[in-house]
Homo-oligomer: 246 residues x 2
């Protein structure tokens, strides 16, 4: 029987420690080694100072993953932390892709609150029905494919949750996406943006698709595009689910 | 200044108590009244026996919501509990729809781990890239609209996560959906099904779209349809994200 080492790939939720699950906290307590992107590591280090922390900057995902496998091979239970959910635009995929090179290491994914859930809760209830999650980052996906997905989703009246709406290098991407969606969708469609979910400077805004097109966002923002039934109720963005025929 | 009463709409995650967030637990501890569907109430009652519990059977969503508003109006902080996330096919939407009738009551949504995150974690990493969430229940949506969404999502290579794949009354719905998707998608596409996430009898299976078509599921099952790049790595369903060009 092989002596398996364990790596937990842990989603810590959107910023606030209280949005972490009990299971995630239990795993972080137990693991002597914690690996992650610098910003997320700093959030955890305050609470658990007595651990080995291995942090790498943005974009060094492969290095970060290999560091975790190497620690696990030394016999240390290791946690790889991601913000939000570990499997939704998180590190879980890459860890599995590399896992074949480390047959002694077993992986377990600990799910977390993703920005779609966390942002929706702040806005009200935009995701009560079918929805599509699309990243506007074209680092790993051709822009043409992103456009096709947006068109498919608006044409069939999905609510859309947009991750990575823009960054310094991709400043106009959300504007381009909004222009495209406005060809298929009412410019007055109710939309929402949420920034810094669960962190300092958290902000929420409900606006029309037309206004969204003129709005600057960044990589800490999550965007919600309503479907044809989404509306504003009080200060909240709500997609009715249709229970009224009950 | 009005004296606002508070209702928390709380997602308790997929079954296991450990998948609840710290914030959700804090809110349940604090609220003297807890309202929900009978099965979820029973999960919570063990831990907090000294509360007022108001439970209603399936399909009595409006009654359940009104019961919560009435308790809150009496001055009791109230928690409405949902399995998974409170906003994703959960009760948050209906609560906001009814909220205009209860101006003294303020709502707050506490997000939870939805079946898409919880199921993906058990399968490996199927949702690492753009995905669509579709319910096959036609109680509230015409089947024709569901079909259009499925076609749009497969035609543009979204990973698809299916909620409510079938029930006693809708026994053949998943089979119909699979037949439809096979017109646009390789029958060998890697798929996954997860049943009873975080509960007794939890089970996970990875299979082809062709096999999925022949498989019986129920309302405790969540289904994942891979995109064209999704593959099986070891015993896991993984959608590569393309970091390899790093």
């Amino acid at each position: 029987m092989r002596d398996l080492r364990k790596i937990y790939i842990v989603g810590i939720g959107p910023g606030a420690k209280k949005q972490m699950t009990l299971r995630a906290r239990e795993v972080l307590k137990r693991c002597p080694v914690i690996v992650g992107y610098t910003v997320y590591i700093d959030l955890i280090r305050e609470e658990y100072p007595d651990k080995v922390y291995i942090s790498t900057p943005m974009r060094q995902e492969i290095k970060r993953c290999r560091a975790a496998f190497e620690e696990a091979e030394k016999g240390m239970d290791t946690a790889v932390v991601c913000s939000g959910d570990a499997g939704i635009y998180g590190m879980a995929g890459l860890m599995y892709e590399l896992s074949g090179e480390y047959p002694q290491v077993e992986l377990e994914v600990i799910p977390g609150i993703t920005a779609a859930s966390g942002g929706a809760a702040l806005l009200g209830a935009p995701l009560t029905h079918d929805f599509a999650v699309v990243s506007l980052s074209d680092l790993l996906t051709p822009w043409e494919k992103i456009e096709k997905r947006l068109i498919a989703a608006v044409a069939t009246d999905f609510v859309i949750c947009i991750y990575n709406p823009s960054s310094k290098k991709r400043a106009a991407y959300l504007e381009r996406a909004c222009s495209l969606m406005m060809e298929y969708k009412d410019a007055e469609t109710v939309c929402g943006i949420v920034r810094n979910i669960g962190r300092e400077g958290e902000s929420v805004r409900i606006l029309s698709l037309r206004e969204l097109k003129e709005t600057k966002t960044d990589m800490f923002t999550t965007v919600f595009i309503g479907n044809s039934e989404t509306r504003k109720i009080g200060n909240h963005m709500v997609t009715p689910r249709g229970y009224h025929n009950e």
